[in-house]
Symmetry: C2
Subunit: 563 residues, 2 copies
């Protein structure tokens, strides 16, 4: 490697981090090398908050040149959910030039081997980490996340998920040795003896189709899983959330070049308005892997049409919380209130349907009727978001006008238990900030089913009255089976109900959070420990991150000869 950074230097710098990640995905204990306090940045080459903000500001209104081959145009029209136009333009690719150029560096990247690929990937992550504050602003002004969430989820937590994918990719490749001597006894004759070499080889170009709400968190796993297994990665960001991934691509290209590899192993494909370039790219023969987060309709289209590729999709689902009983009523309400409010419910993991027996529930604060529970939850949300500054910090902004439309329509679906409230954002007067709406629905009424059995993405939840805990579990099962779910929650003090919910989640393949009343929320998962999605129900065909997410991104070629 004729490079500024040698393999030796990279291994010395990053191998301990990889080893710790490998150990943690085995124990699934807590660990992260990426600090989640804003003040932890600013030394040792990393940007402080003001430096990150300044770096972000300096990008506004500029052309984001990546020095990619086959750029035939400059495109971009991002408008921050907080109001300002970003005014940044990005390279639009001539695909017939770009794709062959991306393949040119594959051989050297393959020959580098799994460990060096992991080390280079970790160097990319380290450079991203150093610019967490810059990326936080980019995530904030494309997703509408509040700053603290954009910083944490878009920064260290996304980087954790990337590192997790690198660790899985490495261990999957390393389980087959590079070489083996094979000697088979033949009784009195000489043994048969072969020398064998095993080489992990890439599938081809990997396409990352980014999403609007979590461009880095949902993007990094596929990006790093594919890159670390030898595949070039073409990043096609959501047109409303280009900047976070464009910065990521720029950093990746810098590191690849400095480590002696072809920077075109990672490229960006921005698109013209309404171009739908993902559809064109997804069926190109060069594209062998696709990672996608977004609507069910396009995810299904990819799975059906991109037959030349392995397709990893995270689509829509309907997340349920079964509320049967609790020994910590206050904690339950506070926990749920935060889950419903965080990022205006614009997470694929936010609960939508709260299933509450119409005869009420038992709690440590006495029996509570269905109406009590709904009213108390509404009060809890109102209390949490009563202070505008705090509300802004939790809610962020609505990511696009479609969410606002759905939110407004939701009020007409049933009795409104908690009306959505407009919150002013003094710093960004154009931001559309809304508190969640909670709508009461009767689970026994067929006309209500259309509402609660569809994903209503955004700050909308349904308090669905059910006949009993048994009825709730049955509806949970049907919801997961038919609509999919990224998360399931349940509150119960009954061993019987708990067992029924657990069995349902095991049988329908959904991730369950039980009786959360503290500072962990059903919509949050931690890298190295929690799986994001299950890959076994209609919400997603893959989980972040497991062996199945990486094992088919490469194949192993064996070359054997007589010893």
């Amino acid at each position: 490697m004729a490079a500024e950074l040698t393999a030796h230097q990279l291994i010395a710098k990053h191998r301990p981090t990889l080893d710790q990640a490998l150990e943690t995905i085995r124990t699934r204990a807590y660990w992260s090398p990426h600090p989640e306090h804003p003040k932890a940045y600013g030394e040792g080459g990393s940007l402080s908050l003001p430096e990150g903000k300044a770096a972000f500001d300096a990008l506004l209104g500029t052309r984001f040149d990546l020095d990619q081959p086959g750029t035939d145009d400059w495109v971009g029209g991002e408008v921050s959910p907080y109001g300002p136009e970003l005014g940044i333009t990005y390279p639009h690719p001539d695909i017939d030039t770009l794709l062959p150029a991306m393949r040119a560096g594959m051989r050297a990247w393959r020959d580098a081997g799994a460990e060096v690929r992991a080390m280079v990937s970790l160097e990319i992550l380290a450079r991203i980490s150093a610019r967490t504050h810059e990326l936080a602003h980019a995530v904030m002004h494309t997703s509408g996340q509040a700053f603290m969430m954009a910083f944490q989820a878009g920064g260290p937590h996304a980087q954790d998920r990337g590192l997790e994918a690198i660790a899985y990719a490495y261990v999957e490749q390393a389980r087959t040795p590079e070489a083996a001597e094979w000697t088979k006894p033949q009784g009195k004759r000489d043994p048969l003896a072969l020398n064998k070499r095993f080489t992990p080889v890439a599938r081809g170009i990997s396409l990352l189709i980014g999403c609007n709400t979590f461009p880095t968190w949902n993007g990094y796993p596929g990006l790093f899983a594919s890159l670390a297994t030898g595949n070039p990665v073409l990043v096609k960001p959501h047109p409303r959330a280009v900047l976070p991934l464009a910065l990521t691509v720029r950093i990746a290209r810098e590191v690849l070049a400095e480590t002696g590899f072809d920077p075109n192993l990672v490229c960006l494909a921005a698109e013209r308005p309404d171009e739908g370039i993902a559809k064109t790219l997804a069926v190109r023969p060069e594209i062998k892997l696709i990672d996608y987060t977004g609507s069910t309709a396009f995810g299904d289209w990819l799975e059906t049409n991109a037959r030349q590729a392995q397709v990893y999709t995270e689509k829509a689902g309907v997340n349920t919380v079964v509320i049967d009983s609790t020994d910590n009523y206050k904690g339950m309400l506070a926990n749920l209130a935060f889950s419903l409010s965080l990022y205006s419910g614009q997470m694929c993991t936010t609960p939508q349907n709260l299933l509450i027996p119409r005869d009420g529930i038992t709690t440590d604060a006495g029996a509570k009727s269905y109406d009590d529970v709904v009213a108390d939850l509404a009060a809890s949300v109102s209390g949490l978001l009563g202070d505008d500054a705090r509300a802004n910090g939790i809610l962020g902004a609505l990511v696009n006008p479609g969410v606002k439309t759905r939110l407004e329509a939701a009020a007409g679906l049933g009795e409104v238990a908690l009306a959505s409230r407009e919150i002013a954002n003094p710093e960004f007067p154009d931001a559309v900030v809304r508190t969640p709406v909670i709508v009461k629905l009767d689970g026994a009424k067929p006309d209500a089913e259309a509402a609660y059995l569809s994903e209503c993405f955004g700050p909308v939840s349904f308090a669905v009255a059910v006949d009993s805990a048994t009825d709730a579990v049955e509806l949970l099962r049907r919801t997961v089976r038919d609509k999919g779910a990224m998360t399931v929650g349940a509150y119960t003090t009954s061993d019987e109900v708990s067992a029924a919910v657990e069995e349902t989640c095991l049988e329908e393949c959904a991730q369950l959070s039980l009786n959360l009343t503290g500072g962990v929320y059903v919509n949050q998962t931690a890298a190295f420990s929690d799986f994001h999605g299950s890959g076994g129900n209609p919400a997603a065909n893959a989980a972040l991150c497991d062996g199945a997410f990486v094992a088919n991104r490469f194949r192993v070629v064996e070359i054997r000869k007589d010893a």
Copy 2:
């Protein structure tokens, strides 16, 4: 487990075998717990050759009852390629009864956990191993393999592949712990703490679609990979090769019952003539996994239509040997002659196209013209098969009339360098035994391409004259890319040619055997060490056996709660 064999007993008996398998798939050195000498059987509860033969004979003309639910008929029409009708009938399923019955035992099988599932699977293999001689006769009289090959490939080698799959399945499930404590520091506040449980859960019913030529060798990997990951397995054998898999299913059901599990976790689905039951089964919603070995047409059909399932296919390919030069001409010829002759070339791994420069090759025995090489190879095959008894032992019988038709037609495709010869089998006069044909083709002639770029399954190979080693490598690349290949062979003393062939195999994802001149043949792969297929070219979408073959046969469900 209320069972005759407890988990404790099974672990004591089989855990060391599993551990050795886990170690060997890591080192890829030689190992097998299954003896490949016929005389190694007959003690310790295993059947000797005569006992196995007697057991096989006792099955002829009987109804093979498996005590399965939903049997609506008895079907069967196997005729040995050696002549005799087997006269055995098997249960034909009422699918709507059988499939639900197969799901009934899933929960207990899931709750048993990965280790117990591995142990029960190993007990099934151990019982199969004890009846190797019975299975050898069943394989011989369905596939047409000669006895010694049916014994080895259908017995210990198939069992090795099954054990390999169990080992991969176990390690894949065990990499996530059953439980974890997760504690995240929160500065001066109390840490966040969760208890987590992780459970591997099955996908659903797994369908094994067996093949005619290697019912056990090609069937066991998928069967055991699915069973060990928690999935019930429905075995749909090839209608000409039911018995080996029916015996396997019977043994599996016995072991499941004795270990306290539902025997319906493994069932057989025999079919009426021309029923095509695989097509019906493959798209049933209960079927979530499919393992298939057979024609490209039906493999492609499965991949396109069985969208509700993960589909693992091994299809047709065109295997190439590049002959550039050698320092062991005699060894090369002998090695190739055996490869072309073994089981009448009816292996998916048998070489078909021998690419030979029209200007000849250099060897330790002097320069050899194209015609010399072809003639010498023809002589080598003739020599190997000159003795009828030895020829019968190597060739076996043609598996079906289609092979004979292709063999006869091949003589019309070009100049015949070695004519196929009929061999009498004194023990089985009705057996159709034929030596291989070698046909000369000119690689530069477009009309020859249609012949050598199609799979001609059976004892047919083409000596294709090419312009140069470079031309050979280019044709190799095109063949693998367009038609797929299970194996590639090459003979060269040139570093340059060797590098070009290796690079081509790495880029087109094909398994390469280089300069084999001894007792290992390009068409043989050893479990625990060699990959069978690459999963990265059109011949197969999976390799036996790697992480990708098992990782997506189950998902992991996490249940977390506040600590």
